[in-house]
């Protein structure tokens, strides 16, 4: 039986190669894009996690605190706990290297303890020199990867920066246990504290627990014993944090790939539908010969499954190729910046590959389902009648179904995320797409009605055809609707996002110049004396100091960024909402939207921030916009922070110039004052340009996916019109008998193609606008926790729509060329 099905049905695919190849390509692309996203992120996360796990060594738990670190007295207390067998203190520094682009991660470790907990961090001195060599100040040991990237050998000097001070460290050996590809250095912890002005400070303590002690018990008990802002966690928690940060981005890309696959399913639908219409007589004959209805159904579904399977297999192969290409071109985070310094490689993912293969088959079967139902519902006698192959593709207006989907979409926008993923938001997108497809047949009549005003014969014929056979538009246009909706929604969302980011950047960068010793995570900083010297520089009117730190508000949540800066009562901040705050007894803070969402905070709420090992209490005065920190930030008035922490260091300094002062001259004076190698001076325009470049790189992948989806949508028009043109060859032959020229038939096809595209584009644009609203107001809010102002790129959308209509007209015209090449005589012959 299977052999019969394969011979009768699947073999028919070989007879329609063009349509088959295009459907196959669509499924392949959908599967390839979706799986590639999984492979890329899976490999990046694996590599990142592998590095973290290897560097965690045999530690059972890690005590971690704010980025600035915590008091090293805590280490002594922890080490004395009965649950702890071994404790190893670590001071982790991201060292700025003056004169070099790259930074170097340096682990300051206790050389006597590290071997028991983190043996892979154990340094080995050069030429068999004693272990105690490492205890000497200024000695640095490099991993093989660091040695290679920095091009340094034993005996060389490496200059590191702390604050604005440069210190030379002597390369004295290696770290043989360092995992391959991990570039870092190790030095004695006391020496590191001294070199980097972090006396008495640790950033981490690695723990090995006593025999029989359960890790979960310690996690629970230590939480109460540790000071505010310091927490204990499993070593691989960092992987989960990174995974959590990139998850929303990953899910978004996966959904985009899903829409590409959906468009592919529409394409399978259109080719299968046209195929069963054209094969009506053949199928009726098979039924008349005794083939059961169910067998015909199975055979037609098998055709879809075969397309899906082949497309899926090709997609799985292509996904691995795409992943390799992405690693080579944009890196493991697809340009989004989640996994910097990670160099993953492509690995075969059997589980994900199987899932995507199944999705490919599902797309094929789903696409073939309705056509198969249509074919099996036909009465065989009717199908055997001569002339039945000119059947019009009917489709009823389904306004009620469309309306129901719209209501369901609105309802799906109401609930919050599930596990941080806006599941209901995506459901709303699916409902909107369904509403658009349901609305297609009804929209045909509405949108084709202006043609009634034209007395031109081609316009009349095209209008008559489309209104009498709206199914033709549904079949050809469904893919266009899906792809246009995707492209328009992404264009509106990305356009609005970019506009809002640009606006935000101009608000957060009001100064004329920005001075810093390094990025906030690295070892450079400005001390009060340096700030005073800059403020006293000729041409400087005012300086705006900013200090950054990261705080852990509770054990479960991701660290939030603390920004201490002059707030001018909120006027200096990109405030989204503010309100009267009754509590005058506590200092005020401003929180970002992500902070408000993730920590469920609102204006007037009280907030405890662990500053300098103590909880300091604030009241929330307002919510600000922040597109830089997805996990949330809190902005504290600089004077309050200094009073509470005693920390007077500065990371970034905004410099406002006096009237008439020259920006370049002032920058030069500052460089001369502080030293050219140890400060970075940027103009707001440069920072803005770099930020927007990063933004564009992040969305590059989404642009590519949109282009693919639109291409698949155009395939839909092309295959539909190719098939329709063939099935309508008699009609065209008759029209040529009546005096229409070949080119008139071509124009007729182009007109029908462009009308189909107009209907698809108009419905797709409306759906895209609605999806954009869901993306902006629901999905982005729930995924990334940031709001944006709607700024649809109307010109670009109109240009895109017109281009698509023209391309669709061309596709229809070119696809119909084969049918038009035939002789008008042969076309009308009954016995041909």
């Amino acid at each position: 039986m299977i052999r019969a099905l394969l011979r009768v049905f699947v073999a028919s695919l070989l007879g329609r190669r063009l349509a088959g190849v295009l459907s196959l390509t669509a499924v392949t692309l959908g599967v390839a894009l979706g799986l590639a996203v999984q492979i890329i992120h899976g490999a990046a996360l694996d590599e990142f996690g592998r590095g973290m796990r290897l560097l965690a060594g045999e530690a059972d738990l890690q005590v971690v605190g704010p980025r600035a670190g915590f008091d090293d007295n805590l280490y002594l207390k922890i080490a004395q706990q009965p649950e702890v067998r071994q404790a190893s203190p670590v001071l982790e520094i991201e060292a700025r290297l003056p004169g070099r682009e790259e930074k170097l991660r340096i682990y300051g470790v206790d050389l006597f303890r590290v071997a028991r907990v983190l043996p892979m961090l154990m340094p080995v001195a050069e030429d068999g020199a004693g272990r105690l060599l490492g205890l000497e100040p200024g000695r640095l040991f490099l991993s093989a990867a660091a040695r290679e990237s920095l091009e340094l050998a034993n005996g060389d000097l490496l200059t590191v920066q702390s604050g604005l001070r440069e210190t030379e460290l002597l390369i004295s050996g290696s770290v043989p246990g360092a995992p391959a590809g991990q570039a870092f250095a190790v030095m004695d912890i006391a020496s590191a504290q001294q070199v980097f002005d972090r006396i008495g400070v640790l950033t981490r303590v690695d723990l090995r627990l006593a025999e029989g002690v359960r890790r979960d018990d310690v996690l629970e008990q230590f939480a109460a014993r540790l000071p505010p802002g310091v927490t204990v966690r499993p070593p691989d928690a960092g992987v989960a944090e990174s995974s959590g940060l990139s998850r929303a981005y990953r899910v978004n890309l996966t959904m985009l790939a899903g829409i590409a696959l959906l468009t592919g399913a529409f394409l399978v639908f259109s080719t299968q539908y046209l195929s069963v219409v054209r094969r009506g007589r053949e199928l009726a004959f098979l039924r008349a010969m005794g083939m059961e209805r169910a067998l015909v159904m199975r055979g037609l579904l098998l055709e879809g499954a075969a397309l899906g399977l082949l497309g899926g297999l090709l997609g799985v192969a292509a996904a691995h190729g795409l992943a390799a290409l992405a690693f080579a071109l944009v890196g493991g985070d697809l340009g989004a910046g989640y996994f910097a310094h990670v160099t993953p490689s492509v690995r075969f993912m059997p589980g994900a590959s199987l899932v995507y293969l199944a999705l490919g088959v599902t797309a094929g079967v789903a696409g073939a389902w309705l056509p198969a139902r249509h074919a099996t519902a036909q009465v065989p006698a009717q199908g055997l009648r001569a002339g039945n192959d000119s059947e019009l593709l009917a489709a009823n207006a389904r306004w009620r179904a469309a309306l129901t989907c719209i209501v369901l979409a609105l309802l799906a926008c109401l609930p919050g995320p599930l596990g941080g993923i806006p599941v209901f938001g995506y459901l709303a997108v699916a409902f909107i797409l369904a509403a658009a497809v349901f609305g297609l047949p009804g929209a045909v009549g509405l949108l084709a009605s202006p043609l009634a005003l034209s007395s031109a014969v081609l316009a009349r014929l095209a209008r008559a055809r489309l209104t009498a056979a709206p199914g033709q538009v549904v079949v050809a246009g469904a893919g266009v609707v899906a792809s246009v909706a995707l492209a328009v929604s992404m264009a509106i969302m990305v356009g609005s996002f970019r506009d809002s980011v640009d606006d935000w950047l101009s608000k957060v960068l009001p100064s004329d110049l920005y001075v810093r010793a390094s990025s906030s995570v690295a070892s450079g900083y400005l001390d009060p004396e340096a700030v005073d010297r800059i403020a006293a520089t000729e041409g400087v009117a005012r300086v705006v100091p900013v200090r950054y730190d990261s705080l852990r508000l509770n054990d479960a949540a991701l660290p939030v960024t603390l920004i201490a800066r002059p707030t001018d009562g909120g006027d200096a901040l990109p405030v989204v909402s503010r309100g009267p705050v009754m509590d005058d007894t506590r200092p005020r803070v401003w929180i970002t939207e992500a902070m408000a969402d993730l920590h469920r905070l609102g204006i007037g709420d009280h907030l405890a921030l662990p500053i300098a090992g103590r909880d300091a209490y604030f009241v929330v005065a307002g919510v600000t916009r922040d597109y830089a920190r997805q996990h949330g930030a809190v902005i504290v008035e600089l004077n309050d922070y200094r009073r509470l922490s005693g920390d007077h260091l500065i990371n970034d300094l905004g410099v406002n110039l006096a009237p008439g002062a020259n920006r370049d001259t002032v920058a030069l004076l500052i460089r001369e004052t502080l030293g050219d190698r140890v400060v970075e001076i940027s103009l707001p325009a440069q920072i803005r340009a770099i930020s927007l470049e990063i933004f564009d790189r992040t969305f590059l992948v989404t642009y590519l996916m949109q282009a693919v989806a639109v291409l698949i949508g155009l395939f839909g028009i092309s295959t539909t019109f190719a098939a329709l043109a063939t099935s309508r060859s008699r009609e065209f032959g008759m029209l040529r008998h009546l005096g229409l020229r070949r080119r008139d038939i071509g124009r007729l096809l182009a007109l029908e193609g462009s009308l189909t595209a107009v209907v698809g584009v108009v419905i797709g644009t409306f759906a895209g606008g609605a999806i954009a609203l869901v993306l902006v107001e629901v999905i982005n809010r729930q995924s990334f926790h940031w709001s944006m102002d709607l700024a649809p790129p109307v010109g670009a959308i109109v240009g895109f729509a017109l281009t698509l209509v023209v391309l669709a007209a061309l596709a229809a015209r070119v696809s119909g060329a084969k049918a038009m090449r035939g002789s008008a005589v042969a076309a009308v012959r009954e016995d041909w």
Binding site: G387, A464, A468, M734, R736, L738, G739, R741, V825, R829
Partner: protein, 225 residues
């Protein structure tokens, strides 16, 4: 007047002609049937007359103008203005209602909508389908569809009406009725009618019956054995 003078057709330059020496003069209002064995080239001759295939010799004149030398576009214009066609398989567009199907040749001639509608209605009245102008073609029987095709073939008052097996898809009763309608209407509008058929019964209703052979057209008595 339609004049064919020594028309010849071969499918390859080095092949024997399918037919040659085909000469014929048909005056307006006259309806001629062309018969012949299968494969002799009846439909090909019709196609040559319509400019849908090129002849390999001879001349075609319509109302004193030589038309066999025209290019493809010019032939299209001639067909649009001067020819009407009736096909065996009707070829009624399923997405147009009956009135629009009949008005189609008028649309091609840029005749204004109101006039086209009125003339289509008149033709539908003439073929007995006046009350069904707005019906969709799928509601009609084969005989009714061929009536619509006749209305469409004549609505623009062509000089020549070519019908290739117009009753081939109809039962004998319907065939006689439709054929009578076609011939009467051709005569009424003063067109030249050429009917290709295998049916002696159908041919007998025309003014003249000719048999196509390789060497040309010959008179044929359909009443003979």
């Amino acid at each position: 007047m339609l004049l064919l003078h020594s028309l010849c057709k071969r499918f390859r330059p080095d092949a024997e002609p399918l037919f040659s020496g085909v000469s014929l003069a048909i005056k307006p209002g006259e309806c001629v049937a062309i018969m012949g064995e299968s494969g002799v080239g009846k439909s090909t001759l019709l196609n040559c007359i319509a400019g849908l295939e090129t002849s390999d010799g001879g001349r075609i004149e319509l109302e004193g103008q030589r038309i066999d030398m025209l290019d493809d576009d010019a032939w299209a214009l001639v067909r649009r203005k001067r020819y009407g066609f009736v096909f065996q398989a009707f070829h009624i567009l399923p997405h147009l209602n009956l009135a629009d199907n009949v008005a189609l040749p008028l649309w091609l001639l840029d005749i204004d909508t109101a006039t086209a509608r009125a003339r289509a209605q008149k033709m539908l009245d003439a073929v007995g389908l006046g009350g069904r102008a707005l019906d969709a073609p799928n509601k009609l029987s084969g005989g009714e569809l061929q009536r619509v095709a006749i209305a469409r073939a004549l609505v623009h008052r062509p000089a020549v009406v070519l019908a290739d097996e117009p009753t081939g898809n109809l039962d004998p009763d319907r065939a006689g009725e439709v054929l009578a309608l076609l011939i009467d209407t051709v005569r009424e509008v003063g067109a030249v009618g050429i009917l290709v058929t295998h049916s002696r019964l159908a041919a007998a209703q025309t003014d003249r019956v000719l048999q196509l052979r390789r060497d040309g057209l010959h008179s044929f008595d359909v009443t003979g054995a």
